[in-house]
Every structure is written in structure tokens, then in C-alpha cells.
């Protein structure tokens, strides 16, 4: 699959179509990638910790994956986040090909709603699990489960807040170069969260249930 022209750097490229913004974008988007790598390390260590606590000692006699995990809900969350990621593609394309600000805001809103749906199901799961005794204070494994999945959910929530901030910025200052660059960074962030979720649903939920 050749991505020759739309991939001068990863994430949204403003090449040719928006060349002036492109130079600044390169620095900013690269910087954001670097920052995300540090975030990746945080998640990676939490994943390793989760694996280390996934044993009888870590479970400390409390409820475990079999008792607590709702595979249907996880599947729904996965679907919502994946759709949310694709929806952001609408934002990216809108920004790059000079669509109306309204269209960009619409796609932003759709992404945010899908993300919010994800958070809704995740929080309900947490509440259910708490009712079954699966509170983080019950065991080391539960602490690491809540922290890892919770941190991802927190990131998604921050992403939604960021989307709201961007919609506000488009409304007040218009779709100027700085706003477009920020939308690029938000896009990288948004897709990155979907990526982490792939790791989560696979390693946190599915593997222990196998």
C-alpha cells in the first residue's frame, strides 16, 4: 500500500495543500509523537505489572478475570473505539482538504460521542465489578487492572475534553494554521489510544480468559 505523498511524517500531513503550516506542523507533530512515546512507556510498564500480578498471589483470593470480565461489553467498547478512530479520519480529511469548519466540527463531535460511549460502557463495567467485590482495594491484581484500564479511560476522557476545546477554538478563532496543527496532534493522540486499547483488550481481557 503506497502512502508516498500523504506521509511525509506520520499523522495528518498538510503537505502541498497547506505548505506553510506544514513546516511548523512537522516540528509540533514530531514533538507530540515523542511525547506519546513516553506515554507508551508508562502503559508498557503498567502492562508488564499487570502480567506480574496475574497469578494466585496477586489475586489474593479475591475475584479474578473469570468472575469479573464481561466479554460482550469489551467487544462493544472495542467497536466504539475503532469507529471513533475511523470517525476522526473524517476530521483529518476535512482539515487537509479545506472542508468547511462545520464539517470538521461535526466529525469531531461524532468522534467525541463514540469516545464517550466507550467511556460509558467502561465505567458501567467498573461499577458492576465493584459491586461484585472487584474493587481495586481488594488485591494487587485488581489494583493493576483498575489502574491500567482506568488510565486508558482517563486518556480517552482527556481526549474528549481536548475535542471540546478544539471545537471551541474553531468557533472562536476559526480553522487557522495553529488550530489545524493541534487537530493533527489530537488525531495522533486519538489513534494512539485506539492502539493501546488493542493491547488492552488482547492482553488484559482476552488472554486471561483463555
Amino acid at each position: 500500500m503506497s502512502n508516498t505523498d500523504n506521509s511525509l511524517y506520520p499523522g495528518l500531513n498538510l503537505t502541498g495543500v497547506q505548505s506553510e503550516a506544514n513546516e511548523k506542523a512537522e516540528t509540533n507533530v514530531f514533538g507530540f509523537w515523542v511525547f506519546l512515546m513516553s506515554d507508551l512507556i508508562i502503559f508498557g510498564i503498567l502492562f508488564a505489572t499487570y502480567a506480574a500480578y496475574l497469578n494466585p498471589v496477586g489475586l489474593a483470593g479475591g475475584p479474578g478475570p473469570q468472575e469479573l470480565f464481561d466479554i460482550k461489553s469489551v467487544a462493544i467498547q472495542t467497536g466504539l473505539l475503532l469507529l471513533g478512530g475511523v470517525a476522526y479520519g473524517g476530521v483529518s480529511l476535512g482539515v487537509k482538504y479545506d472542508s468547511a469548519a462545520k464539517k470538521v466540527m461535526l466529525w469531531l463531535a461524532i468522534s467525541a460521542i463514540l469516545g464517550a460511549g466507550f467511556v460509558f460502557f467502561e465505567v458501567s463495567d467498573f461499577i458492576d465489578q465493584a459491586h461484585k467485590g472487584g474493587i481495586p482495594q481488594a488485591s494487587g491484581w485488581l489494583s493493576s487492572y483498575w489502574t491500567l484500564v482506568g488510565l486508558h479511560g482517563l486518556h480517552v476522557s482527556v481526549g474528549i475534553l481536548w475535542i471540546i476545546a478544539m471545537i471551541t477554538q474553531i468557533k472562536t478563532r476559526g480553522l487557522d494554521d495553529t488550530v489545524k496543527i493541534r487537530l493533527s496532534m489530537l488525531g495522533v493522540f486519538w489513534h494512539f489510544l485506539d492502539l493501546i486499547w488493542v493491547g488492552i483488550f488482547s492482553l488484559v481481557f482476552l488472554v486471561p480468559l483463555s
Binding site: 500500500m1 502512502n3 508516498t4 505523498d5 500523504n6 506521509s7 511525509l8 511524517y9 506520520p10 499523522g11 495528518l12 500531513n13 503537505t15 502541498g16 495543500v17 505548505s19 506544514n22 512537522e26 514530531f30 509523537w33 515523542v34 512515546m37 507508551l40 512507556i41 508498557g44 510498564i45 502492562f47 508488564a48 505489572t49 502480567a51 506480574a52 497469578n55 494466585p56 498471589v57 466479554i71 467487544a75 472495542t78 467497536g79 475503532l82 478512530g85 475511523v86 479520519g89 483529518s92 480529511l93 487537509k96 482538504y97 495522533v188 489513534h191 494512539f192 485506539d194 492502539l195 488493542v198 493491547g199 483488550f201 488482547s202 492482553l203 482476552l206 488472554v207 480468559l209 483463555s210
Partner: protein, 131 residues
């Protein structure tokens, strides 16, 4: 190491090309996700299930990077970003892998492991052999 990446590029691509990229990525991700979930719900051996899940995850991550994040091996892109992701992945393997190695090693040397299992062995020593 890399050429500075500030040139203008005549956009030969169209929106359609990018839309196709997203669409393909979506379909592949969907398939891989379904595969992973299906594996768990199936009757395969646990080892095989885990293998399928992990491979599907790895492939899906790659798909996301290529189709959604436009990271590519092609020479037209600034190599710095690819280098960044690969380097990060390497360090992450060392840190996560090292953690798992160290902690499972320690775990194997702790008595807590045995306490969590049932203790039929100790009881059987004390029982007289049945006639």
C-alpha cells in the same frame, strides 16, 4: 541521518486515496478483532488461543500505524518518525520484558506460590495406605 523534511510536495494523492487507507484499515482491524474474540470463545487449547490473540494484536497495531497514522517504510517519509517508533518499541520490550523476567523469576522463588495451591500431597503422607 535524515534529510530535513521541509520540502513542498506536489500532492498527487487525492482524498479518495486517503479514504481508502482508512477504510482498508478499518476492515482489517475489524477482522483481526473478531478473530481474537472468536479464538477466546472457541474450543482451542489455551496456548493456541493466546498465540492467536497476540498475533492478531500485533498485526492490528501495525495496521493502525500504517493506515491510520500513516507511518510507513517508504523512503519518501522522514525516517525520524519511523526510527522513533521502532526505537521506542525496542526499549519497551527491554523494560516490559525485563520486568516480566525479573518478577516471574522472583515469584518462582517465593513460597507464596505453593500456599495458593491445594495441599493434597501433605495429607497423603499421613494417611495409612488403604487396603
Amino acid at each position: 541521518m535524515t534529510k530535513p523534511n521541509t520540502g513542498e510536495v506536489n500532492p498527487k494523492d487525492t482524498a479518495a486515496h486517503e479514504i481508502r487507507s482508512y477504510a482498508t484499515g478499518f476492515v482489517i482491524s475489524l477482522i483481526l478483532t473478531i478473530a481474537a474474540f472468536a479464538a477466546v470463545l472457541s474450543d482451542l487449547s489455551p496456548t493456541l488461543k493466546i498465540l492467536i490473540i497476540c498475533i492478531a494484536a500485533l498485526l492490528q497495531v501495525t495496521t493502525h500505524l500504517r493506515n491510520f497514522l500513516h507511518l510507513s517504510f517508504s523512503g519518501n517519509q522522514s525516517r525520524e518518525d519511523l526510527l522513533l517508533v521502532l526505537f521506542s518499541a525496542s526499549l519497551l520490550s527491554i523494560m516490559a520484558g525485563g520486568t516480566i523476567w525479573i518478577l516471574s523469576d522472583l515469584h518462582g522463588r517465593m513460597h507464596g506460590d505453593q500456599a495458593a495451591h491445594a495441599e493434597p500431597a501433605e495429607h497423603s503422607h499421613n494417611r495409612a495406605p488403604e487396603d
